[in-house]
């Protein structure tokens, strides 16, 4: 048992450092600031009717519309008029089958109901305490974007997702290259970034940009702590790579449950830069926030690529990633390089977590769900190659978003509807995962990887 006290102490310190921060903040720190006020409530079940005018493309509440609720036998149960927010809450005695009728004579002139005036609520589906029924007047004006506009939008989204995946997976790939570890806990390093930044900026009220910088640094230190406390001792003990992979699974389970315990299971948003209107250049629409994060991320990526390509440190890193023994024999301190790789990789993952969190909100499993795309990216690029991770991650991100658009000129073939019509948004990750399997069939070493690594 050569698991030294020093290493254990380092691991414990790293964990306490993170754990302590979580402990210091209450789990329910976010204020329900932008929730709409709910005026009245019912003691029992209720039906809320909302009447809105949608004629001009945006919803406007309509006041003073009479809504009547009848029970299954047709007898009137309750009636009421909508308030200034276009809503009315009607309390009903039990969760049963009702019909909700809007009195069209109470609508103002020029307002015509879009759809039926009477809606039936099925008692079997009356599960929540308050059922909401929506009525709209005026024909719906939906902006139907043309194909090219949609494509440009998807490309912009794909560009942003691709950059995030590329940033997150550089560390995954470099750590694999230098130590051989396939780190299944890498997604949790991404989540670390999102959660710590949320903690610092929202709960502690630190300026967001400062908080982001601190978070990226802490993320890097977290990586170094993990390496010093866990992975480096394991390597010294000669624990096999497959066993290390299982250890990383254990670490992932621990971290995600720690996050869930301290952060809760819901999605939380950063409060800074939240509600911005998009800037438009022709078909391209992007908010100033997203544009800034994209530019910063792109700059970071180029910086990392230059660092690896030009600097002594980067050359040494690539050498270790190619062949540890050979690199060590030329005088490179491979242990030091591995520490730097852990710092860099984990810091980049934390940055990815912040960017992703600005985009989609922070969740305890945000990194875990990105992990698959990261794997797809680095497999495409070539496991262990840093440039491969950059290129592959970017391609996968682009692929995920653009695959939702489809090719309308594609012939209508059975089983290939996704190519013609695009992938449903909820399934947009599926083609990327399928691509992962396909790449391994055709070219397992990826675009930039080397053949001797794969098997």
């Amino acid at each position: 048992m050569t698991f030294r006290i020093r290493h254990l102490a380092a691991l414990v310190l790293a964990l306490i450092a993170t754990f302590g921060m979580f402990l210091a903040s209450p789990a329910s720190a976010d204020a329900p600031a932008n929730r709409a006020p709910r005026a009245a409530t019912c003691d029992g079940p209720g039906i809320r009717a909302q009447v809105n005018d949608q004629a001009n493309g945006e919803k406007k509440p309509i006041e003073g519309v009479k809504i009547t609720v009848n029970d299954a036998s047709g007898a009137e149960v309750v009636t009421g008029n909508t308030d200034a927010t276009g809503r009315v809450l009607l309390c009903v005695p039990e969760k049963a089958t009702y019909t909700v009728t809007l009195d069209e004579s109470t609508l103002k002139d020029g307002q015509a109901l879009d759809g039926e005036a009477t809606v039936t609520i099925d008692g079997a589906k009356f599960t929540t305490n308050t059922r909401t029924i929506n009525f709209f007047t005026g024909a719906a004006v939906r902006e139907t974007d043309g194909y090219w506009t949609l494509l440009v939008k998807a490309i912009v989204n794909g560009f942003r997702l691709g950059i995030v995946i590329a940033i997150c997976s550089v560390g995954l790939s470099l750590i694999f290259g230098t130590t051989g570890l396939t780190n299944f806990a890498h997604g949790e390093l991404v989540t670390f970034g999102g959660i710590v930044a949320h903690l610092l900026s929202v709960s502690w009220g630190i300026n967001f940009i400062l908080a982001a910088v601190i978070t990226v640094f802490l993320g890097g230190m977290f990586g170094v702590g993990l390496d010093a406390g866990l992975w480096s001792p394991l390597r010294k003990r000669g624990v096999g790579l497959v066993s290390q992979m299982v250890v990383s699974v254990g670490l992932g389970i621990f971290l995600i449950n720690l996050y869930l315990m301290r952060f809760g299971g819901s999605t939380k948003r950063f409060q800074a830069y939240n509600q911005q209107t998009a800037m438009k250049w022709g078909p391209i629409e992007i908010t100033a926030r997203d544009l800034t994060t994209t530019i910063i991320s792109l700059a970071v990526l180029i910086g990392v690529a230059l660092l690896l390509q030009k600097s002594r440190l980067g050359k040494a890193t690539r050498a270790v990633s190619d062949n540890v023994d050979l690199a060590s024999s030329t005088g490179i301190d491979s242990a030091k390089i591995i520490r730097i790789v852990w710092f860099l990789g984990a810091a980049l993952a934390a940055l990815g977590g912040i960017v992703r969190g600005l985009d989609e909100g922070v969740r305890a499993d945000m990194g875990g769900s990105l992990l698959f795309l990261m794997f797809a990216g680095i497999t495409l690029g070539g496991l262990g190659s840093a440039y491969g991770a950059l290129v592959g991650g970017f391609v996968i991100g682009m692929f995920v978003e653009v695959s939702t658009i489809g090719i309308p000129w594609f012939p209508d073939l059975p089983f290939l509807g996704w190519i013609k019509n695009g992938v449903p948004t909820e399934l947009k990750n599926v083609p990327a995962l399928a691509a992962l399997i396909l790449i391994l069939m055709i070219r397992p070493q990826g675009i930039l990887g080397r053949k001797e690594r794969v098997g």
């Binding site: 254990g250 389970i253 797809a376 449903p424 995962l433």
Partner: protein
């Protein structure tokens, strides 16, 4: 603190259905990982294949429920082929990545609105277990004790005493063989008698609902069949080749064996066992829900397997039993420990602010446990360290 309650619930989990379906899945992962060295991180997908095979056979194709087993088996085997063909020639970690990606893909598809007509979306499928529950000899809502002396009539008491006796004798024999005892018969009898006593004590404290008990009995019978199957399989020439592949693939190949074929069959056997596990889980809940087959499930089964010991049949049975007993114990213990506000304190140190977070707490402990096991005792409780010389080549 009600120690009786803690003991009862722990023992109930020790013998319960969660342990049973984990055991079946763990046996499958053991064939793949423990014996053949194939790291399958997508066992949840094979379980989902079984569960959805059953559910779709009844709800979508409108077959009878036992044909669902065939449908599930076909699903699982096809999945294993799709995953295996590109990856089995590559290094171990590629299989891990691909299986975990495949499991996520399956989960996304079955929970999607697009395919709700077939898989039922996030609500999943229900009502397919009626045919199975119709065969249930127990009253569904009634609570049954499983101890011999809790039975209502003498015939059942005698039957249970005999069954538990035979099982205990079998365990005693296994212990005697394991210890390489000089006098086999006396050692078997002594070990068997001790096991018998423990079994009677445990069973006297445990009660199950009739609907649950029926699945439980079917499950334990399946566990018995599959354990013997895996045990015999690994002592057969086929099993020796499989273990040889784990140790040195090239050596086996140089003997003229078709390594790819052997690995593929190991993967499929594991997948079919996973499918049976999924079926048991679906029958237990009488529904299938996509989010019950997330990757976390695979990881927990893996932890239970490593706890028991890789490359041993005993390990894949005892591991999941202990795993669930420990989970249940932690759960009840923490909830008993919490004060009126739900705060949990041990020796004056605040452990949890709110005892409702104890689910996450105990799963976090599972993660720590897996790390510690892999580092300090990779062979688990029953494994042999020499058989655990796994590395990524």
């Amino acid at each position: 603190m009600d120690w009786g309650l803690i003991l009862d619930l722990t023992l109930k989990a020790f013998l319960g259905l969660d342990a049973v379906y984990y055991i079946v899945a763990a046996l499958g992962m053991n064939v793949q990982f423990g014996y053949a060295g194939l790291l399958n991180f997508g066992q949840a997908a094979f379980m989902a294949a079984g569960a959805y095979g059953l559910g779709m056979a009844v709800n979508y194709f409108e077959y009878s429920w036992w044909l669902g087993l065939v449908v599930g088996g076909v699903y699982a085997a096809v999945l294993a082929l799709i995953v295996g063909v590109p990856t089995l020639r590559l290094r171990a970690d590629y299989l891990a990545i691909v299986t975990i990606a495949m499991a996520e893909m399956i989960r996304l598809i079955v929970r999607s609105v697009t395919h709700k007509d077939k898989f039922g979306g996030t609500d999943g499928l229900k009502g397919f277990a009626d045919g199975f529950q119709d065969l249930n000899p127990f009253a569904q809502g009634k609570v049954y004790g499983i101890g011999p002396f809790q039975a209502s009539n003498t015939a059942v008491t005698v039957l249970l005493l005999v069954i538990y006796g035979l099982i205990s004798l079998g365990i005693g024999y296994a212990i005697a063989r394991k210890r390489k005892a000089a006098k086999l018969v006396p050692t078997t009898l002594i070990a068997g008698a001790i096991t018998y006593g423990i079994t009677l004590l445990i069973t006297s404290r445990v009660k199950y609902l009739g609907s649950e008990l029926w699945v439980l009995i079917v499950g334990w019978v399946l566990v018995g069949i599959f354990s013997v199957f895996v045990y015999m399989l690994m002592r057969s020439p086929w099993g020796r080749v499989i273990k040889g592949i784990r140790e040195d693939e090239d050596a086996v190949r140089s003997l003229g064996k078709n390594v790819f074929g052997y690995k593929m069959s190991a993967l499929i056997i594991g997948a079919v066992l996973g499918m049976f596990s999924g079926v048991l889980f679906a029958l237990k809940n009488s529904n299938v829900q996509p989010d019950n087959y997330s990757r976390a499930v695979t990881f927990y089964i893996m932890t239970a397997l490593v706890l028991g010991g890789l490359a041993t049949v005993t390990g894949s049975i005892v591991g999941p039993m202990l795993f669930w007993a420990l989970l249940a114990f932690t759960d009840v213990f923490l909830s008993e420990l919490s004060d009126a506000q739900g705060r949990v304190e041990i020796f004056g140190i605040e452990l949890l602010k709110d005892s409702s977070a104890r689910g996450q707490f105990r799963l976090g402990m599972v993660g720590i446990g897996l790390i510690l096991l892999m580092v300090f005792r990779p062979q688990g409780i029953f494994g042999n360290r020499k058989e655990m010389a796994l590395d990524g080549r």
